[in-house]
């Protein structure tokens, strides 16, 4: 049965403290002068409720940057697939990042499914945090329809004046709220406030680019030869920041790490970037994406074209991280706008 709860802001400190006692609690915290990151917290004062997308998306908890997947013993010729995981409550996930996690779920459930990912995911409880307004000018969540949550959470909190309304989406979420023993069912007043806020959101969030969402796929499909890739080629530094910060980029490398005794060792999965030069290089020396422009095109295709073919879903959540992080100022919005221009 659908269930809404309320938490008054006065109780928020207590709420966070209790959450932290149950299991490891992870929430957005301030990092540097203008940036944020998901990190372990124990008290409400550590948490930044008002934050723009974190440097890395929460994917780092689902597929860690460095993840041991196999341990071996050479002399015994023993290979074991290993998972190191822990129970985590992930607090304060924006709606775009909820969508990002949903994309990863699709990929790693694709056969043969990646049990490492799937089991780890099961141990993470997700508490979403609804965005009432834009983070900044880089976001395109309106266009991608991710300013509202479309599932993907156990609990979703919406901040309203003096309180939070909490939507309980799963039994796990319900259980957690039970354990806290401090939230009450939402009253009619709270629900009215929630609806009012959602109505207002409808005005605030509009497609940031003048294109219909369903037109994005054909736009990119036909853009292989577009000139915009050439101008991006000139600007791009190939640093790989855009892919590492993207909530839906999941490419990885697997490295072998043997101990100094040359017997025990492990295979470690590490994030990799299609923007790095050797990414698509093969043994004869051929590089299938030697040009930075081509590599950027590939990145865009993997957001707006290929996954749509495969999963009927765009893999851009509109979080704006790629544009925010790019020191060469390659901007997703501008790229799409230029493509629209070019097509005319």
């Amino acid at each position: 049965m659908e269930q809404y709860l309320i938490l008054f802001k006065n109780d928020f400190d207590d709420f966070v403290e209790r959450l932290a006692k149950i299991q490891k609690l992870v929430a957005p915290v301030k990092r540097g002068s203008k940036s944020f990151a998901f990190d372990e917290v124990t008290a409400a004062e550590d948490v930044s409720l008002n934050y723009i997308p974190t440097i890395l998306p929460p994917k780092k908890y689902f597929m860690p940057q460095n993840e041991t997947i196999v341990e071996y013993e050479k002399k015994q010729n023993k290979w074991e697939a290993i998972l190191y995981s822990e129970a985590i409550t992930l607090f304060g996930v924006h709606t775009c990042d909820l969508a990002g996690i949903q994309c990863l779920n699709l990929v790693f459930s694709d056969r043969p499914n990646d049990v490492h990912y799937i089991i780890r995911k099961k141990r993470i409880l997700i508490i979403g945090l609804e965005c009432n307004d834009y983070c900044d000018e880089y976001a395109t969540c309106g266009l991608m329809d991710n300013h509202n949550a479309n599932g993907g959470y156990d609990l979703l909190m919406t901040e309203l004046e003096d309180r939070f309304v909490i939507h309980v989406n799963t039994v796990d979420g319900e259980e957690l709220m039970g354990k806290l023993a401090m939230v009450k069912p939402a009253d009619a007043e709270s629900m009215t406030m929630l609806n009012k806020m959602r109505n207002k959101k409808r005005e605030v969030f509009q497609p940031e680019i003048d294109i219909e969402r369903k037109e994005l796929k054909p736009l990119f499909e036909e853009s292989f030869q577009a000139e915009v890739w050439d101008s991006i080629h000139e600007k791009c530094l190939s640093c790989g920041n855009c892919t590492n910060v993207c909530p839906t980029c999941y490419c990885y490398d697997v490295e072998d790490e043997i101990d100094l005794d040359f017997n025990k060792g492990k295979m470690v999965r590490k994030w990799d970037s299609c923007q790095s030069r050797p990414f698509a290089m093969i043994s004869g020396g051929e590089n299938f994406r030697p040009e930075r422009g081509g590599r950027q095109r590939h990145r865009y295709m993997r957001k707006f074209n290929y996954p749509f073919e495969k999963y009927n879903r765009y893999f851009c959540t509109g979080c704006g991280r790629c544009s925010r992080t790019c020191m060469a100022k390659i901007n997703l919005k501008e790229t799409i706008e230029t493509l629209i221009e070019e097509k005319k």
Binding site: S238, I258, D261
Partner: protein, 249 residues
């Protein structure tokens, strides 16, 4: 596996990279169990003219260095360039931006050049073949151990051709460009785990540049800042002057 005999040699450098090795703490004993160190002048008096693996620290800056490195190459089956000075010329390469007589007389007076021979700074591979490169000023200990393991197994190892930014992002540092500062992370080879940025400083490019030349794009980015152009160029040259011509190839 038979333990390989290993000798350390230093050329023109600060000896910090050898010291990084000496600084491993008790882990040094694990390393010493895997190899047989026959020469390590900084901490040992033993000497040997026979060794399988020669670990070379420092750049080649005198005619005598050239002779010595050639002899070492002939004896060793494996040569490892340790640290920026050896692997890319490093800090010593800044000298190459000046006329040799000028630096000699500036430091040692007009007669300087008569006492102290010097030639343009070279990385080790610019004189003899090098099998493994351990970049960094100083070397990043985990990377050294990693490469050593490949060397001891007799397997080739290529430093991944990607930028320090990659590691910097994975460590979730706030970007220097976000703070209004310039940083050489985007064009510098990764492998140090973005050491400097993790500690709040910028990347100085000590590991050499990634293969793909994006220096121009990078100058475009940096030009927006209010700093003299020759300082921008100086940034690139601090470590990479000696090997800059290779980058053009």
């Amino acid at each position: 596996m038979k333990r390989k005999t290993v000798a350390f040699f230093d050329f023109t450098c600060c000896e910090g990279c050898q010291l990084q090795v000496a600084n491993f703490g008790e882990e040094l004993l694990d390393i010493l169990a895997a190899i047989d160190v026959v020469m390590f002048r900084e901490v040992m008096s033993e000497k040997s003219d026979e060794y399988d693996v020669a670990i070379i620290e420092g750049s080649i800056t005198t005619p005598h260095d050239v002779e010595r490195i050639k002899e070492i190459r002939e004896t060793a089956t494996t040569v490892i360039a340790l640290g920026s000075c050896a692997s890319i010329g490093g800090i010593n390469g800044m000298k190459n931006s000046f006329k040799l007589e000028d630096v000699q007389s500036y430091v040692y007076g007009e007669d300087g050049k008569n006492y102290f021979e010097t030639i343009p700074t070279m990385a080790v591979h610019q004189v003899v073949d090098v099998d493994y490169f351990v970049h960094g000023c100083p070397i990043y200990p985990p990377e050294f151990v990693k490469i050593l393991k490949y060397a001891l197994q007799g397997l080739p190892y290529t430093v991944k051709d990607e930028a320090v930014c990659v590691e910097c992002k994975l460590n979730e540092n706030e970007c220097m460009y976000e703070k209004g500062l310039t940083c050489l992370g985007p064009i510098t080879k990764a492998g140090c785990n973005s050491w400097c940025i993790n500690y709040g400083n910028i990347c100085y490019g000590c590991r050499g540049m990634v293969k793909e030349t994006t220096k121009n794009a990078s100058i475009d980015v940096i030009k927006k800042y209010d700093i003299p152009m020759d300082w921008i160029m100086g940034k690139f040259d601090m470590y990479n002057k000696a090997t800059e011509s290779e980058e053009k190839k």
